[in-house]
């Protein structure tokens, strides 16, 4: 009996050591960082909602905070709103997908640097029956022309988003001013817009990542994809500290650099493949 107790006692330290190592390893893997809170400064990131809704934002922020001494305050709004926040000195760094507005922002002197960090594409989705006959046309302008001519419902974001900016550029290229009973404006985010299109048997345009995330809950199908004009490029912009000296410039620069580190680029490129079986974002080679 005494021998058995001794053996058990000698096995216990080993057990405790292994358990401790497993817990420590697990905590490291879950993003616990050695950087104390008091050593962290706040970094305000204004980003487009699709980066949040895809799940990528949380993973990026967690990785960034593991390595760098910042506490990221991420604000997910439309691209236009994100850039407008930065224009007022309320965001240190932005991730947006509205190239025209980004270039205006840079030209106006509000940005220190802008780098294209990743991309996917916009797609046109609609009811499986495809009453407007656009499936497979491969050309967004032609698809919009057919939808408009058919008078079948189309749901627009109608907000200050990069998606809406892309939609308007397609209508512009088609020479169409969309208006009428068939043209509905949700004035809201991509999730609401997709659900409305689903309920109304309508067409809409969406970024691919958001559609993939909601795909299982919708009856909508991809109608048009692969049009080079529907490329959806995300850029990271560091706010110019000369305009707003209170900007957390080092944090903004560190975040921008972090997004281009090989490990981060690999993470972005592979993100979602395990879960959805397809890429949500691509990185530039």
């Amino acid at each position: 009996m005494r021998v058995r107790a001794l053996r058990l006692r000698s096995a216990l330290p080993l057990f405790v050591l292994i358990l401790g190592a497993v817990i420590a390893g697990g905590m490291c893997g879950c993003g616990s960082s050695a950087i104390p809170d008091e050593d962290r400064s706040e970094l305000i990131l204004a980003t487009t909602t699709s980066v949040l809704d895809s799940g990528l934002l949380d993973v990026l922020v967690e990785r960034f905070e593991e390595k760098y001494p910042y506490r990221v305050k991420a604000i997910a709004v439309g691209s236009g709103a994100a850039l407008l926040m930065a224009r007022q000195g309320e965001a240190d760094v932005t991730i947006t997908h509205e190239p025209r507005a980004e270039k205006e922002f840079m030209d106006a002197g509000y940005g220190e640097s802008r780098r294209e960090v990743m991309y996917n594409d916009f797609i046109i989705v609609g009811p499986a029956a495809d009453p407007a006959g656009i499936k497979g046309v491969g050309d967004a302008v032609e698809a919009f022309t057919r939808i408009s001519a058919s008078g079948l419902p189309f749901v627009s974001r109608g907000d200050a988003s990069g998606t809406h900016a892309m939609e308007m550029s397609v209508w512009e290229r088609a020479g169409i001013q969309p208006a009428g009973d068939w043209y509905m404006e949700s004035g809201q985010g991509m999730g609401y817009t997709l659900r409305t299109a689903d309920e109304e048997g309508a067409y809409t345009i969406t970024d691919r990542a958001t559609f993939i995330v909601l795909d299982e809950a919708l009856d909508l199908e991809i109608m048009v994809e692969g049009d080079p004009g529907l490329l959806n490029v995300y850029s990271v912009i560091v706010t110019d500290p000369e305009v707003y000296p209170d900007t957390n410039i080092q944090g903004a620069r560190d975040l921008q650099a972090f997004l281009f580190e090989p490990g981060t680029q690999e993470l972005i490129g592979d993100f979602g493949v395990d879960t959805y079986g397809q890429h949500l974002f691509y990185v530039f080679k």
Binding site: V59, I75, V77, G272
Partner: protein, 177 residues
């Protein structure tokens, strides 16, 4: 024999811990929910936005109750909302003048800026002159109907300015002096 059973127990516990950590670290399990993360985060927003916190270096002021705003003189602002992407929406917004709301809360002017913060962290700043304009209101109706719930109980309408200033889901107003 005893050592073997202790080791078996240790291995089992370790495997259990590993499974727990792996679950906790899992990146993104596919959600059956038809709602996106940005939408799920709005839960409780409307109720929270019924109270607007005031911050003023000149002194303390009570929070603004959005129901109380509706007892102030009502004005209609007929204008065109111009969004940042250039899109326009014509309409009539009904509400109380921001100047009346501020005065009613005991906030004295002039101040440099009014910094308005929204539920999602969005921020817009307006100067004193803009805040005092007669067509700057906290609106609770749009075209005769209550604001869509996702905009919160009230929203700022600045009749003579772009949509950038038309902040909704307001949670906080900070006076910058």
């Amino acid at each position: 024999m005893v050592r073997r059973s202790a080791l078996t127990l240790a291995v089992l516990v370790i495997l259990g811990c590993l499974a727990l950590f792996l679950c906790g670290c899992g990146e993104d399990e596919k959600k059956a929910s038809p709602f996106l993360e940005s939408e799920q985060r709005l839960e409780g927003m409307y109720e929270e936005c019924k109270t607007i916190e005031i911050s003023d270096p000149a002194g303390e002021h009570p929070d603004i109750d959005t129901d109380e705003i509706k007892s102030l003189p009502e004005v209609d602002v007929k204008t065109v909302l111009v969004r940042s992407n250039g899109m326009e929406k014509e309409g009539v917004w009904t509400g109380a003048r921001l100047s009346d709301v501020l005065r009613g809360s005991g906030i004295e002017g002039p101040f440099t800026e009014l910094r308005m913060e929204a539920w999602d962290g969005y921020v817009a700043k307006i100067g004193y002159e803009m805040a005092m304009r007669p067509d700057t209101i906290l609106a609770w109706e749009e075209d005769g109907a209550p604001l869509p719930e996702e905009q919160g109980p009230v929203r700022l309408v600045v009749g003579s300015e772009d949509g950038f200033y038309w902040i909704h889901r307001i949670t906080r107003m900070e006076i910058v002096r």
